[in-house]
Amino acid sequence: MIETSRRGFLQLGATGTAALAIGSGLATLTGCSKKPATAQGYKVLREGDLLFLGALAPAVLVKAYPGPLGLDARERLLKQLDSILNTLQGHARGELLMMFDLMNSAPLRLATGAPWGSWSEASVKDADDFLNSWKHSSLQIKRMGYAGLCKLISISWYTQPENFPTTGYPGPPVKIPTPVSA
């Protein structure tokens, strides 16, 4: 586990925003042997992560979501996020998964400004309030989390060709590959 991050996240309790049972929270994070399984069809994301990221998407993307992708929007976004995460190396991957673990743990989530029972219960306004609290936080680790989440969700969304019209981008020229002559 990455020491700096864990210390950083433990600081959340020290700010006094909530009297946490840090002990039980620590047990969730340090028991690496009891990691939740990845979600069906995904390489990195777990069920809890899908709920978390799925709840943030409409707050990050507002009118762009679900957009032209309609009913496929959520899965396309989550699969693209998963694909990116699968290529991240030790440091970036560790930081993000640590944040996701935190978001999946109810007592720790409470201290981060996310008081709902589960992310599936969070409204779009709840998600937006949560993002804004991290955006303006005096804690570097929360600001890093805010920037990371916005960047990941945005790039996963706006690189989907179906979403080009939302931005006004007419798209690239068509490329026709050339068969090999030999």
């Binding site: 990050v60 931005t167 002559s181």
Partner: protein, 544 residues
């Protein structure tokens, strides 16, 4: 939401372009996917080159032409012309380190680096400059770098300009770049046309997703085919885990075969060669030496890795900019680059191409404000400033550490020195954009609104809070980490590219630069690589 689907790209189809890599392989080139080799297989060569980017490709061709048996190793996959479909999604995944998501330790900088055969030259924006005279002078004086004065280096830059067809871009700049030339002209700031390494460029604007027409003279379509045509071997999806070192010699390289998901297949390959060249870049190179526990008595490996931290300024215009079409970079301004060599950091201004995915990241933010900005993409211009880091004690650069899995961590905290340069550059870019007729300007900082005029902008930028992760800071240039020079307190590579503490290890890539360059670095790498590789060839001939 206003879908604007009636407009089509200026060039509707790219077809009839041959793929030189696939053609070469069909014609019998010695190219292998490491995953297809046997576990424990031993490969031998006269020289092994780790990394196939600007340094590795250049070195491979020179040594192959000198008659040596060259083996190139590349961590990334092999992608070529037929694969380049101008699609951000595919490109970031296939050609970039960590899907373009590589970041510094505290997450404040996004680092764009290539990770494929041809390295960063496959995804860069073609800008090609000699190493500035001021930079060469600084290296000679501060790092005791020998043989690299302007007079000594110019012939090498000129050789590589010829090899890679580098010349001033003769086509009028696209609107995104014209904002810079028009605005600078109006303000009386110096500006010039950028030299580009292209031949027969279609002016499409997709250099960053892999050139679809073979116009960009990346290593992939020039030196690597050159080396392979002279019977060199290339093994890709092959990650060098560590150098096998005994005393003062590198005996070989331990290599892990990776699968298409970039994960180890479980197969290990050993490469043995009497000469070893590292061309891994300023992040992966130091990481490899750290993993290898290479001798480093002064603890200088992975110190002073520089990134040209980049600030961004967005501007909205009434007329169409179409910042995604046309040669991505064709105009630059060094007006504020060399006011002084040390002291407050100089910066180079250029334009940034804006495709939707990258734009959404650079805008940094969420919700209504982010949506409002990105839906105006056709009318948005972006300027960037490359901050010239490393020329002052206040700018020590990054240090490279290892994560638990052995991958590199780039510890580059943005300090007051860098932030001060950011504020200055954001102010200048806003001036240029308003002078060019912008309706509104917004620096890429989460607190910044769209400013309606230059007075608002100047005031606003002056009062922006310096808060890490609250503003966009990018890097597309990784320089240093294995400084070259004769001063052992600061340098680990000698003036001929040989690692000081090992007899047969050479470093020929961008990691040798003792400071940042102060210009887009590819031609600096090509020029130094050409010089050092020719010296190495002579040395190898002499000892044969």
């Amino acid at each position: 939401m206003q879908p604007k689907t009636n407009r089509t790209p200026p060039i509707p189809m790219v077809a009839g372009i041959p793929d030189p890599i696939l053609e070469g392989i069909a014609g019998g080139w010695n190219v292998e996917d490491a995953a297809d080799l046997n576990d424990g297989q031993i490969l031998e060569a006269d020289v092994v080159i780790i990394g196939t980017g600007a340094g590795g490709g250049t070195t491979a061709e020179i040594l192959a032409e000198a008659g040596f048996k060259v083996l190139m190793l590349e961590e990334g996959p092999l992608k070529s012309t037929n694969d380049f479909k101008m699609d951000e999604r595919e490109a970031y995944h296939d050609l970039y380190q960590e899907s373009a998501g590589r970041m510094s330790k505290d997450g404040s900088m996004s680092i764009l680096q290539g990770r494929c055969v041809g390295g960063t030259t496959v995804i860069n924006w073609t800008s090609s400059f000699h190493t500035p005279e001021e930079t060469l002078g600084y290296w000679a004086e501060e790092f005791k770098l020998k043989g690299s004065s302007k007079e000594e280096m110019t012939p090498w830059f000129e050789r590589m300009e010829k090899r890679l067809n580098i010349s001033d871009w003769a086509v009028p700049p696209n609107e995104n770049n014209a904002v810079l030339s028009r605005g600078a002209e109006k303000l009386g700031l110096d500006w010039k046309v950028i030299p580009r390494n292209v031949a027969g460029c279609w002016n499409l604007g997709y250099c960053g997703t892999g050139c679809p027409t073979n116009a960009k003279q990346s290593m992939l379509v020039t030196t690597i085919p050159g080396a392979l045509n002279k019977d060199s071997a290339l093994v890709y999806s092959a990650r060098a885990e560590r150098l096998i070192i005994e005393g003062k010699k590198v005996l070989g390289v331990e290599v892990t075969a990776l699968n298409s998901d970039y994960k180890p297949t479980g197969k290990t390959i050993i490469v043995k060669a009497p000469h070893v060249v590292m061309s891994c870049g300023g992040i992966n190179g130091p990481a490899l030496l750290l993993r290898s526990k290479a001798p480093d008595p002064k603890k200088r490996v992975g110190k002073r890795t520089f990134l040209h931290p980049v600030s961004f300024s967005f501007a909205e215009f009434d007329h169409l900019i179409d910042p995604y079409y046309g040669a991505p970079q064709s105009i630059y301004s060094d007006h504020y680059q060399w006011k002084n060599v040390t002291g407050p950091a100089g910066f180079k201004m250029e334009a940034a191409p804006l495709h939707p995915g990258l734009t959404s990241v650079l805008l940094l933010g969420h919700g209504a404000a982010h949506y409002d900005a990105i839906t105006k993409l056709p009318n948005i211009n972006a300027l960037l400033s490359l901050v010239r880091d490393g020329f002052d004690p206040e700018s020590p650069g990054a240090s490279i550490e290892l994560a638990d899995d052995g991958s590199p961590i780039v510890d580059y905290p943005i300090n007051d020195y860098i932030w001060e340069a950011f504020q200055r550059s954001l102010t200048t870019m806003a001036e240029v954009q308003f002078a060019a007729g912008a309706k509104k300007v917004r620096p890429a900082h989460v607190d910044a609104p769209w400013y309606e005029n230059i007075h608002e902008a100047k005031d606003g930028i002056k009062n922006l809070e310096f808060r890490s992760n609250a503003f966009t800071a990018g890097s597309a240039h990784v320089m240093g980490g294995l400084s070259m020079g004769e001063d052992l307190e600061k340098c680990v590579v000698d003036s001929n590219g040989k690692y000081h503490y090992l007899d047969n290890l050479f470093v020929i890539d961008g990691s040798i630069f003792p400071t940042s360059i102060g210009a887009n670095p590819q031609l600096s790498v090509y020029g130094f690589a050409c010089k050092l590789a020719n010296q190495l060839a002579a040395k190898m001939k002499a000892s044969a």
